[in-house]
Amino acid sequence: MGRPGPESPLLVTANYKLSFDALRFQLDTIDAWLLVADTRGVNVWCAAGKGTFSTEEIIHSVQQSQLQELVSHRTLILPQLGATGVAALEVTKGCGFKVQFGPVRTSDLPTFLRNNNQADEAMRSVTFTLKERAELIPVELYFLLQPLVILFLAGVLLSGIGPTIFSASAAWTRGLHLLSGTLVGIGCGTILLPLILPWLPGRQFWVKGLLPGLAGGIACWGIFSGQITTPEGLALLLWITAVSSYLAMNFTGSTPFTSPTGVEHEMRRGIPIQVAATVIGLLLWVAVPFISQP
């Protein structure tokens, strides 16, 4: 970065494209050495949690790159969130370089370096702002593409079942209604929920997902009111709420404040209710052609 000399700071990061680009962008005015640990394209926090951004990897990278010939000092600056995987004292034992944990966010690095490598409380705290939550939405949606195709095909199959064994026209019209419901559920759990997260009631995420799901379900029922029967509307409401609640629970993985013990605790409570709502909803959906026939 810039024109580093023997006195320039040594910054360590992961070979995750966004971390690396963020560093280059933030540091365009600073002369520094950059040591990139091989985390197979995974970001610092995830890699630290999964053991690729580790004490051993840092020692290995230092030794490989022969840093001692490049710099006169013996200090590595690591992102603070790397501390989950890196034991600072053991790095020093392993390669002679002292580890200092820098700020959580790259954007605070210039200030950190200017202040003689001091980070204040704000620089050391993780945040979860509206912007940070909104940026996660496309990633979450991307991971749902494959399940959506499967759900669509399963939905068409379920919708076609009827007294005539299988009706292609019912599969099409009712399949589209069910698909719309699925999309509404995804919209509630994956788009709406992250945006309004701090204002949703409940601590547990499966509970936070219920309210958007119920609202989405009622809206969906209202929109299709002329085309679907009451049991079908109820089935859609249950299905959408279950989808929203499940996706909300899944969102725990993208937040920076949920503990694994807490997530397991809430999953043991949320999953039975999500499964019950799904089963009752889908049974209703399949039963409708049989009960509404003259």
Binding site: V42, N43, C46, A48, G49, K50, Q80, L81, A83, T84, G85, V86, A87, A88, L89, F101, V104, E121, R124, S125, V126, T127, F128, L197, P198, R203, Q204, F205, M249, N250, T252, G253, S254, T255, P256, F257, T258, S259, P260, T261, G262, V263, E264, H265, E266, M267
Partner: protein, 95 residues
Amino acid sequence: MQNFRYIDKVATLSLDQETCIGCGNCVTVCPHRIFGVAERKAEIEDQDACMECGACAKNCPVQAISVNPGVGCAAEIIANWINGFVGRKIMSGCC
């Protein structure tokens, strides 16, 4: 982070003040700022804000902190359940 509180009284974090030497490494690395140091001993000031990332325990020079670390991610936990059930790794969980 004051806007976000997760479930109370579940985090497995504990600190042995007898063993603690008050170095303050835990204060530095904690992303939720739950530690403080007073009279050369660390203390947990906000236990329920702990997300069990394990950074404090990893960087404690005298192993005074114990926490069952992991990622708080439902997909990961489901993958662990399924992998444990079938006895081999068939699901990879998150990131």
